[in-house]
């Protein structure tokens, strides 16, 4: 990896110093622009002055350009290792690989908040650039609300977390980035998560703007859906990356720890999934309007709760890198103002949203209501568990912990129920449905799923229900999605050709639901049937784990660019044939003074073999931990499928943001 070496800071030419100052200035201007973007369009929309309303568009563009400039200048400071910036000194080092110099920009509190506002401005800009078919007053109000969110976070950055602060005496080298963050999985985890969190700010802006406007209709649903979908896709990828990183980096093959910070990203994901489904009802049936608006407000609320939990360090966890009370209070104030404001507005205006579509008890609409209840309640359970230690200490004077065993027990039943009803709900027609007909169509899928579950039960050695139930559910979801897709091709010949021509939204729905099944299979397989082996191994010694023969061939000391590694060489055999040679490592990053473990994994379709080298033992041997992890990759494979399904749906012609809402108005909704 290349490196830009500019020598010790302080000798940097004036122009480079200026770049940082320009960035700082751009950030201040962006704040001012955001304030303008709030006041002028909002007043203009109130007075129906077209010029004032239209001012929102150039303001949003300018705000984005200024923020992008500030972000670029900070990136430049990291690239050139400008240690006169405090932030660069604290989080970078000249010997750091180029990739991590770039990702180091958001690998810290201040830089990550700058990334956050950059994305706020980007989403705002997207409405300004592509929203030509939005009613002008709605567009002005959406941009004004988005400007409000931007202004609040610009103020947060400028007053409590300024990334452009200088050091009076720049040091010769920096303190290096936390080595745990020097990893491709984690390097790109925050940008995706932020795209997701902040994507929900857009649905919030649409919700608040619609409340001010007093109008929620199908066109509104048509606009909110792509943003929700995009946010959900990004959250899925971000959470998947984080969990994949935890799996291979933390050294014992766990993939989800119910850590407060993980929960902080999981709650918006659940709510976004609910919102995604309810906005379909708004768009297609003009029902569930007030509920959808409420969800859109709550979804962004959870995003901000996530920011608050991560940034304030109030529920301290390994992730919390900022534990400054000033920041916590500021964020809490932002959260409180936006939530109270939006909810008050909601309470005052909820009555203007008249539902139009009527539907029977057995219908797609009813099933989506149940979907929303289950997703909402499960998010609520995660929320309660996450804040309970705080509540118990403040109000009941009990110091306690809420960990994985609680969440596994309290959360899983809702997912189980959701998985059970999902294939039925996905196939029920709108308005009024015949349950018997759908059940007849799904009979084969159900029998297949039961058979797979029973087979798993019969083959396993333990008596745990987890694995078989998980596989049953997975098979039910996957085959149910296939039946759903197939049933849309009609009857008679040419069904395959019609299958290919089905709208992308149909494909997206089935792929995403199937992906959920795949993830469930992976989680169940990994939790139920993992095999673990811990032992002392002498170099040259062979041992057996789960039918594989492993031998520790060598342990060597290897030097990396900014770390020193103890690297084992382990050959993995099945019988006599060599499958792979694995190189598990233990690294020490001298600058940061931190050890990390780098597991070596032999990835397979049906299983992973996961090897970790531990400490040297007194007798010349090494502690070696080996795991056999069935279906491990299915967890992330399923997440990729879910995200891909979402992307398919997003790319559907019918939902393309700019595409013909006027056409839709002319055609109307055909009666069934």
């Amino acid at each position: 990896m290349g490196e830009i070496d500019v020598g010790p800071a302080g000798t940097a030419p004036y122009t480079w110093v200026m770049i940082t100052e320009l960035g700082h200035f751009a950030l201040i201007l962006a704040f001012v622009t955001a304030c303008f973007q709030v006041v002028v369009p909002l007043y203009g929309a109130h007075k129906r002055w077209p010029g004032w309303m239209a001012a929102a568009e150039p303001a949003a563009t300018l705000q984005f350009l200024l923020t992008a400039g500030a972000f670029a200048s900070l990136t430049w400071a990291f690239l050139t290792s400008d240690f006169s910036l405090k932030l660069v000194t604290l989080n970078s080092h000249t010997a750091k690989p180029l990739l991590y110099k770039i990702t180091g920009v958001w690998g810290n509190h201040e830089g990550s908040m700058l990334l956050w506002v950059l994305i706020v401005a980007l989403f705002g800009g997207s409405v300004a650039w592509f929203g030509s078919n939005l009613p002008p007053s709605l567009k002005a109000r959406v941009l004004a609300v988005q400007g409000m969110i931007g202004a609040a976070f610009f103020a947060f950055i400028l007053f409590t977390s300024n990334p452009f602060l200088r050091l009076a005496v720049p040091p010769f080298d920096g303190n290096d980035l936390n080595p745990l963050l020097q990893d491709p999985g984690l390097a790109f985890h925050p940008p995706f998560l932020y795209l997701g969190y902040v994507g929900l700010s857009m649905t919030f802006s649409f919700a608040v703007a619609a409340l001010i406007e007093g109008r929620v209709d199908a066109a509104w649903g048509r606009w909110v859906r792509p943003y929700t979908l995009a946010a959900w896709i990004f959250l899925t990828i971000g959470i998947g990356l984080g969990s994949w990183w935890a799996y291979y980096e933390l050294g014992w093959g766990g993939f989800w720890f119910w850590d407060p910070v993980e929960n902080a990203s999981f709650m918006p994901w659940l709510i976004a999934a609910a919102l995604l489904h309810s906005s379909i009802v708004v768009e297609k049936r003009e029902s569930l309007k007030s509920w959808t608006v409420l969800l859109a407000i709550i979804a962004f609320g959870f995003s901000m709760v996530g920011a608050f939990i991560t940034r304030s360090g109030i529920i301290t966890s390994v992730h919390a890198f900022a534990s400054d009370p000033e920041r916590g209070v500021f964020l809490l104030a932002i959260l409180a103002v936006f939530m109270l404001g939006a909810l008050t507005l909601f309470a005052a205006r909820a009555n203007v949203m008249q539902a139009k579509g009527v539907f029977g008890l057995v219908s797609r609409e009813s099933m989506l209501v149940i979907n929303n209840i289950l997703l909402g309640v499960s998010a609520f359970v995660v929320f309660t568990g996450t804040i309970w230690p705080l509540v118990a200490e403040l109000f009941f004077d009990r110091k306690l912990s809420v960990g994985a065993p609680f969440f596994n027990m309290a959360f899983t039943p809702f997912m189980l129920l959701l998985g059970l009803i999902l294939p039925v709900g996905a196939m029920l027609p709108w308005k009024r449905a015949n349950l018997g007909r759908v059940i007849r169509q799904l009979r084969g899928a159900f029998v297949l799923a039961i058979a797979i579950g029973a087979l798993a039960w019969a083959l396993q050695t333990g008596r745990s229900a987890l694995g078989p139930v998980g596989l049953f559910l997975a098979a039910w979801l996957v085959s149910g999605s296939a039946v759903d897709l197939w049933s849309r091709t009609g009857r008679g010949s040419g069904r395959l050709a019609r299958l290919r021509r089905l709208p992308r939204a149909d494909w997206g729905k089935s792929v995403a639901h199937g992906g959920l099944g795949i993830t469930i299979a992976g989680i169940a397989g990994m939790m139920a049937w993992s095999v673990e082996d811990i032992r002392v191994v002498q170099p040259g010694e062979a041992f057996e784990v789960a039918g594989f023969t492993l031998s520790l061939d060598n342990v060597a000391r290897v030097e990396g660019p900014n770390y020193i590694s103890t690297m084992g060489e382990v050959s993995l055999r099945r019988g006599d044939s060599l499958i792979n040679t694995l190189y598990p490592e233990k690294r020490i990053y001298p600058v940061a003074g931190m050890p990390t473990t780098e597991a070596a994994i032999d990835n397979g379709f049906l299983r992973d073999v996961y090897v970790v080298v531990g400490d040297p033992q007194g007798n010349g041997g090494w502690a070696i931990r080996t795991y056999y992890k069935p279906l491990a990759n299915w967890i992330w494979g399923g997440a990729i499928l879910m995200a891909f399904g979402g992307a398919l749906s997003l790319s559907d012609r019918r939902y393309r943001v700019a595409a013909g809402s006027h056409k839709a108005a002319a055609v109307g909704v055909p009666a069934e």
Binding site: G251, W252, F380, L400, R535
Partner: protein
């Protein structure tokens, strides 16, 4: 066992989750110890159980759990022994008594509440379906009139 704890305390280097020398000879006891360890929090770490943690204190607790099990404690007795000394903070699965009822009840209660509201809402919506010509919404009726006019 005491001697083992003592000499391991002297090693300052970070140890690494469950060590080979900790593992009990009896696989059944060891399995129980692992199970219990996964429900106990490493007090100096954040949100990590003692089974996964590499902290010295976690190792001491793991050895303590095994010591109790070897001494013939049941699972409950071993956990109670540790809770007596370290407080309920050590439990990753909170007890269900007292104020924690709120925590455990939150999900089911919310489901019940949500379900009730949904039933009321859905029945109201569906009654208008069954009420004859109300199966068309106002909008649809207006459209129908328009179509009939042409």
């Amino acid at each position: 066992m005491k001697r083992l704890v003592l000499c391991l305390c002297l090693i300052a280097a970070p140890v690494f989750a469950v060590q080979p020398d900790e593992i009990l000879d009896d696989p059944a006891l060891e399995a129980r110890a692992r199970e219990l360890s996964q429900g106990l929090r490493c007090l100096v770490c954040r949100n990590e159980n003692i089974d996964d943690s590499s902290a010295q204190l976690a190792r001491d607790l793991r050895l303590l759990v095994r010591e109790r099990l070897v001494a013939g404690d049941t699972d409950e007795e071993a956990v109670a022994f540790i809770v007596d000394r370290y407080g309920e903070y050590v439990l990753l699965k909170p007890q269900s008594g007292g104020s924690n009822l709120i925590l455990w009840g939150a999900g089911p209660l919310m489901l019940l509440l949500g379900g009730l509201i949904a039933v009321v809402y859905l029945r109201r919506r569906s009654r208008s379906v069954e009420g004859g010509d109300a199966s068309l919404s106002d909008d649809e009726k207006a459209r129908l009139r328009e179509i009939m006019k042409n």
